[in-house]
């Protein structure tokens, strides 16, 4: 049993603090090879993770790196550094604490490798980079503990897979390394434990007291929410009132663009000039730092933010969390709510603000789920192979390796425990030769097998290129934005959005309306001379789909005879839908057909989430095109897909036939843009496509060609190539999300209700107003292009 050294104990006592039971437990179990703490936000779990390390380092006898702390956010690493240094300095402990992220300076990074601190705070990507250096074995030789904070968040993405692969490498270098995971409340702690622990070692799970139930409600406004849209502008006065009533409010949005727009409108309505800030991942680092510092100092009354502030950063005075837009996912909502009132055993206070009428239903369903402690989660699949390919390349950067050693090392990662030797060899072959059926690169392989049987990079200069492309976060290409004549960047916008701007256009960034002046090198220059209403910068953000569990709750709610829990405007709307058509049911697919604006519309209520509904739309329109129904476009939301075209759909059953849909995925959808984007993501992670090149991206797009061409070429000449197999696997989730279509088919078993109406139904009406309509690239489209061209040629001819 590890005990708290007197210097720390007295520092605690001086503040009248005592350890929580789970913090004492963590100290007691300090020697466990793997330890997972599940604690609600605000439960002091980060300090619980560090106490054993502080105790072990208090004697000052350890030289070099002792504990590595990994968090999903740079901001979190910086925050922990602040919070940890205070007790360490005040208790006079001989412990050096530093952070290392993408934002750390070059000289600082070099020095850290030569002379690492006792405690290094970092992110999965920075850690992967550290393991790629030749001196990694020296740096990590004395490593005693890795603390993975907010591991539940990492577990949801490939960043978690990358992290645990890096841990397998560290464990090989430092066999005594213990693993500590800190997680918010999750649906399946065992899954997180499997991710964390060295396979097949057991992982001890400790549960902290979950604390009192949150005080959570839907914000009631005088004005009902609009029919469509995601801005929730209508709620500005009510939100402002709440800000005034509380000390500090955190206002969460699902996308960056919505956060920008909301902040802008909030600022316009801010008649008392309350100090309000904005924080999201596209803003420049210095601006984010400033907002974070002001928040910690208690200088701000509210922050408008996105998921970048989702995780356990400690804001002292926070007493209200407002979630704008339906939360899409109950687990994430609970974690966000936990941000409020960072005192143990005090209930968190939160308000949900639906952005439109349907989201009222979603918010109420989410509230019910929170009260029932019904968290959602999808089972973790086995480790993705694109991440494995990147891991092999990273391993090659750090020096020659033996393939058998590496295979066994990877098998100690829970997610890759079932990886077959053949699958590993495929990935190794891909990294070495490209893995093509046509062996074209005999002379120019990336990895070579040396006479001693070990693998190494053919060209050592390749290491730099590989290091520059480490990471699994799929960001779109962005351009820096700065005020003309001013060096300081304001933030970043997507390249695709920048391409749509012409001089004089205005857009929002950092809550400021700016005027586009031009492109200088790879920087967007803007001025403050904004006159027109702003275009909204289309940040990609993450388009969260409503979870399976939340969708199921909404369907259950639809089955009620009446809806006393809903505001009258929304209950009336559902009743109208029931009177004029019918409400969707759990075990059936509702299909509505109606004419509108000289087009035939058909709405398919699949409740499969936005991405799957979009995929469904693409598959349906493809079949409609083949059947001569001339579809023109579609729009997908989390609950339905609306398709329109020149001809009416009279029998939807064959369109929804499972065999047809699966066939469409295999054949037609394989050529679609969403599959190409999926391919692009995996091919970038696996190292086939380089995001960053050593020479700055000066030449940009024009010198490169689209990854779509690679996908098409590979599909045509090497359809069984590893990258295409990975792409098909990825299509079951993510952007394509065919897994949710399968879930819908299983749930409904071919039960379809087709309702033909003479006009648009109440439930379908908001969809007409939805953004993000997808045009169908069919014959009708080619004709439209020709017509548009003819119209343009008219005056010229």
């Amino acid at each position: 049993m590890t005990t708290l050294p007197p210097s720390i104990a007295s520092w605690f006592t001086a503040r009248g603090w005592s350890l929580h039971p789970h913090q004492t437990d963590m100290l007691a179990r300090a020697d466990a090879p793997a330890l997972l703490l599940i604690a609600p936000t605000g439960g002091g779990k980060t300090i619980a993770g560090f106490l054993p390390t502080l105790a072990e380092l208090a004697t000052g006898s350890h030289a070099g790196l002792h504990t590595l702390y990994v968090s999903p956010l740079k901001a979190l690493a910086a925050d922990i550094k602040r919070n940890l240094r205070k007790p360490v300095e005040e208790a006079g402990l001989p412990i050096r604490i530093e952070d290392r992220t993408g934002d750390t300076s070059y000289t600082q990074k070099r020095r850290q490798r030569a002379d690492p601190p006792h405690i290094l705070l970092t992110t999965p990507e920075s850690l992967a980079l550290l393991t790629s250096y030749e001196d990694a074995p020296r740096m990590f030789a004395g490593l005693q503990r890795v603390v993975v904070d907010e591991i539940h968040a990492l577990a949801e993405s490939k960043r978690g897979d990358q992290l645990v692969l890096a841990l397998s490498r560290l464990q090989a270098i430092a066999p005594d390394m213990r693993r500590v995971g800190l997680s918010a409340t999750v649906d399946d702690p065992n899954a997180i434990a499997t991710l964390l622990a060295r396979h097949p070692d057991p992982c001890l799970i400790l549960h902290a007291d979950p604390g009192p139930a949150p005080d959570i409600a839907m914000l009631v406004t005088a004005e009902p929410p609009p029919w469509a849209g995601g801005g929730a502008k209508y709620s500005i006065p009510a939100v402002l009132d709440e800000i005034k009533k509380h000390k500090t409010t955190l206002i969460f949005h699902n996308t960056r663009a919505q956060a920008e727009l909301f902040f802008h409108n909030l600022w316009l309505a801010n008649d008392e000039s309350l100090p309000i800030g904005i924080h999201h991942g596209s803003l420049d680092r210095t601006q984010r730092d400033r907002v974070e510092a002001a928040m910690v100092a208690g200088d701000l009354r509210a922050i408008v933010c996105t998921g970048t502030l989702d995780l356990g950063i400690d804001w002292g005075n926070l007493d209200l969390v407002i979630q704008i837009g339906a939360p899409k996912n109950v687990k994430r909502l609970v974690q966000r709510i936990g941000r409020a009132n960072h005192r143990y055993n005090a209930p968190s206070k939160a308000l949900l603000v639906p952005a439109n009428r349907f989201e009222v239903v979603e918010c109420v369903a989410a509230l019910e789920a929170v009260m029932a402690h019904d968290l959602d989660g999808d089972p973790r699949g086995h480790g993705p192979r694109d991440v494995l390919c990147q891991h092999i390349l990273i391993r090659a950067c750090s020096g020659p390796f033996d393939e058998n050693d590496l295979y066994h090392e990877i098998k100690t990662v829970g997610a890759y425990a079932s990886l077959s030797r053949a699958a590993f060899d495929d990935c190794l072959d891909f990294c070495a030769t490209g893995g093509y059926a046509l062996c074209a690169y005999d002379k120019w392989k990336r990895l070579l097998k040396r006479p001693d049987g070990r693998w190494q990079l053919r060209d050592p200069r390749a290491a730099q290129r590989i290091r520059m492309n480490i990471g699994t976060i799929q960001d779109t290409d962005t351009l820096k934005v700065r005020l003309k004549g001013n060096f300081k960047p304001l933030g970043e916008i997507e390249e695709a959005f920048a391409a749509t701007l012409t001089v004089g256009d205005t857009f929002l960034i950092g809550g400021k309306v700016v005027r586009y002046e031009g492109l200088r090198e790879m920087t967007v220059e803007v001025s403050n001379r904004a006159t027109k209403a702003p275009k909204i910068a289309t940040f990609a953000g993450t388009k969260f789909a409503t979870s399976t569990q939340l969708s199921a709750r909404i369907l259950q709610m639809f089955a009620q005879d009446s809806w006393p829990q809903l505001p009258a405007h929304t209950a009336d709307w559902l009743q109208l839908q029931r009177d004029l058509s019918q409400l969707p049911q759990t075990g059936r697919i509702l299909v509505e057909s109606f004419p509108h604006d000289d087009r035939h519309y058909t709405c398919f209520y699949g409740f499969a989430g936005r991405n799957a509904q979009q995929t469904l739309g693409l598959l349906l329109t493809q079949r409609m095109e083949a059947n001569g129904l001339n579809p023109l476009g579609l729009v997908a939301t989390d609950y339905a897909t609306l398709v329109w075209g020149l001809n009416a759909v009279t029998d939807p059953a064959p369109l929804l036939d499972p065999a047809n849909l699966r066939d469409g995925l295999e054949t037609w959808l394989a050529g679609n843009a969403v599959m190409k984007r999926t391919f692009r993501g995996s091919a970038t992670i696996a190292g086939l496509i380089e995001r960053n090149l050593p020479q700055a991206r000066k030449s940009g797009r024009q010198a490169t060609f689209s990854s779509d061409i690679l996908y098409d070429t590979l599909s045509k000449y090497d359809p069984n190539h590893l990258m295409l197999r990975i792409t098909r696997e990825e299509a079951m989730r993510g952007l394509v999300d065919f897994g949710r279509i399968e879930e819908m088919l299983t749930r409904t078993q071919g039960a379809i209700d087709h309702v033909t109406l003479d006009r648009i139904s109440p439930l379908a009406a908001p969809m007409i107003l939805e953004m993000g309509k997808v045009p169908i690239a069919g014959l009708g489209r080619e004709k439209l292009l020709q017509d548009a061209a003819a119209a343009l040629m008219g005056p010229a001819a």
Binding site: Y436, A440, W444, V503, E690, A703, A788, A796
Partner: protein
């Protein structure tokens, strides 16, 4: 009958085909530009990634289809036919055989480009430029009139009708060809380096399922943006 957009350049009737090739009906001449054969190999050789090594075959297959359809008496490859001179040397036997078969029974000109300046060991006539049927063929555009050139890989799109497509750009004096190679990107035809070569009445011919002609509107040049090219 050739699928494409017919017009007259100088005194010569030409067809900009959907397949990114130029057809001169009177002399039965076919012109393609910027094949960039061997590009994947060149990237790997220089320590880059190993892209799917099928682009050379794909480019040649598409060229074979066009040649099969039109049975030209003469073929002009308008420069950057090879991604570099080593790429020409490293072509796989299959590709060399295909080129030899395509060349048989017709005149074949390789015009030098910036990527493949210098002698190559593959059959056909190597020239810096060529004057044929009243038109001047060279890789990079000059001030001359009645000129056909490549190099810029122009692409163009119409707002709201999908992504930009490789395109021909022409006015009364000159024509710039789209790149024919499979692994070739594009530069917006409205960018100053391309649109600056044309008068106000320039036309872009989009390629793809159909050949679509639209006026090329010149956008004001953004300051300080000058491109670099492969």
């Amino acid at each position: 009958m050739t699928a494409g957009h017919s017009f007259t350049l100088g005194q010569t009737a030409v067809v900009a085909t959907t397949a990114r090739a130029l057809w001169l009906p009177a002399t039965q001449t076919l012109c393609v530009s910027d094949l960039h054969l061997g590009k994947a190999g060149r990237i790997a050789r220089r320590g880059g990634t190993m892209l799917p090594p099928y682009e050379t075959l794909d480019t040649l297959h598409r060229l074979a289809t066009v040649i099969g359809d039109l049975a030209p008496k003469m073929v002009i490859c308008l420069g950057d036919s090879f991604d570099d001179l080593d790429a020409a040397d490293e072509l796989l036997p299959d590709a060399l055989t295909t080129i030899t078969q395509l060349q048989s029974g017709r005149f074949w000109y390789w015009i030098e480009g910036n990527h493949d300046a210098g002698p190559i060991r593959i059959g056909g006539t190597h020239v810096q430029s060529l004057t044929h049927a009243g038109l001047h063929f060279r890789h990079i555009a000059t001030e001359a009139s009645s000129e056909v050139s490549g190099h810029y890989h122009p692409k163009h799109g119409i707002n709201g009708t999908g992504p930009a497509r490789p395109c021909f750009v022409y006015d009364a004096n000159r024509l710039i060809m789209p790149a024919f190679g499979t692994y070739t990107g594009g530069v917006k035809a409205t960018s100053p380096e391309i649109s600056g070569l044309f008068g106000p009445k320039a036309i872009a011919v989009l390629t793809g399922p159909s050949a679509v002609a639209v006026p090329l509107k010149r956008s004001p040049p953004p300051r300080g943006s000058r491109g670099k090219f492969y």
